[in-house]
Amino acid sequence: MAELLEAGLIVTLVGLTVVFVMLTVLIFVIGTMSRLSRIIDVVVTAAPPASTARPATALRRADDDELAGVIGAAIAAHRRKR
């Protein structure tokens, strides 16, 4: 049993160390990430919007407001012509 207990103590020591090391690393990395993202936000807001591609969402076929709008406009235009 002493052997098992020793193994348990080692697991505890190693385990707690890893938990603290990893979560401490996480603290710093998250801090860095936050600072980085503030820089990015500033740069991107200053620059003109990079994205010109239109949204592409194959699944939104049904509840597509834009589609409905265009259809509505098309119908209205047609009626006007008649």
């Binding site: 592409a56 194959a58 699944l59």
Partner: protein, 378 residues
């Protein structure tokens, strides 16, 4: 103690990462960037990108036979079940009214499949370049990217060229997102201003009975002529019947929402899990990406040219632009048609007219996949 620490070190990522895995995680990150920032088909590319990252983490073995992504792949992709369930949902989400009102536009959906077959030939020609060694089945799977239909591409690639699945799926969804950039120059190049200004007649209304009989009709024709396309077309038409029959709203809702949403998450993760370094970081992937872009371009051109023929044959009643929607990529391609049409005449609303070839393109690609399965399948 020392053993424990050594064991632990050996189980860290730091001690096990290989360069290929890091590069693939960057690929996954790029897909996430395109999906979230550039809105490239995010419903698929977010799960695919995340799946690529997860499956390239060493030790975790999430894409292995006992990992979550491995299980999902075995259950959902290898069996073909997930793409078919997506098709069930797509059928329930799709309004085929425009196609029923104007069935001739199906021809435009047929023409756009040119892209599939010419790209297949292109892939075979690429074998002349050292480093490329595509089989006929590989080439066919690459060609199907031109179908602009994700589930069809995944279904066929899983059967004909499973080792290329990752690259093919990524190319298919990426180019579908790029439709607004790829198509307009081709459309403008191939049409005159006068053609682009053609105003089409208003469509007739479609009765409820027609809408109910339509999926059954399509299924019967497929059954008679091309049974290998029945799994895809069968699920598409089943979903559409649930939508149109009007007596099973509960099931229709389940197909349109719960089923397609849940399956999309897992399909994406599982496809992403095939983005491994040894299969993706090769010159062949570059070839697939180039050929995929060509496939989209040729498909668009063929659709527009068929549109010109129909314009001429009907004495100018068809605006050739709507042919570009035949590649499918529903409903993006139809919107692009509308937009390009309005560049010439901003009161010309082509959207509804483009929906016919647009949904016909879904059927067209499934039929093309059926032919390829019949000729090259196992």
């Amino acid at each position: 103690m020392e053993d424990s620490i050594r064991e632990l070190w050996l189980s860290t990522g730091l001690a096990n990462f290989r360069l290929g895995q890091i590069l693939m995680m960057l690929v996954g990150g790029t897909l996430l960037f395109l999906a979230i920032r550039k809105k490239f088909e995010p419903l698929l590319l977010v799960p695919i990108g995340f799946g690529a990252i997860l499956s390239n983490i060493p030790i975790a073995a999430m894409a292995g036979p006992e990992g979550l992504l491995g299980y999902v792949y075995a259950v959902g992709i290898e069996t073909g079940v997930f793409p078919l369930l997506i098709f069930l949902g797509v059928g329930a989400l799709t309004d085929f009214g425009a196609l029923i009102a104007n069935p001739k536009t199906i021809l435009l959906g047929a023409a756009a499949q040119f892209g599939i077959f010419t790209t297949m030939i292109g892939a075979l020609l690429l074998n002349a370049v050292p480093g490329f060694d595509f089989t006929l089945a590989d080439a066919a799977s690459i060609g199907i990217i031109g179908g602009a239909d994700g589930p069809t591409a995944i279904f066929l690639a899983t059967r004909l060229a499973p080792e290329l699945l990752g690259a093919i799926a990524v190319a298919a969804y990426s180019y579908m997102a790029l439709v607004p950039i790829i198509q307009p120059p081709i459309m403008r190049l191939l049409t005159t201003k006068k053609e682009r200004a053609v105003v089409m007649q208003q469509m007739r209304p479609v009765s409820k009975l027609e809408r109910i009989l339509f999926p059954l009709t399509v299924l019967i024709v497929t059954a008679l002529l091309l049974p290998t396309a029945v799994p895809l077309i069968g699920m598409l038409t089943f979903g559409n019947l649930l939508r149109e029959c009007g007596v099973v709203e509960r099931l229709n809702k389940a197909a349109q929402n719960e089923i397609i949403n849940i399956v999309t998450i897992f399909l994406g993760l599982a496809v992403g899990s095939k983005l491994s370094a040894d299969q993706f970081l090769r010159v062949e992937t570059l070839g697939i990406l180039v050929l995929g872009a060509i496939a989209f371009g040729i498909g668009t051109a063929a659709g527009v040219l068929m549109g010109k023929i129909m314009c001429w044959a009907t004495g100018g009643k068809v605006n050739p632009l709507i042919g570009a929607a035949g590649v499918s990529a529903v409903p993006m391609a139809a919107r692009v048609v509308n937009k390009v049409g309005q560049e010439t005449d901003e009161n010309n609303f082509l959207l509804m007219h483009a929906m016919g070839p647009n949904v016909a393109g879904v059927i067209g690609s499934a039929v093309a996949a059926g032919v390829l399965l019949a000729l090259l399948g196992p």
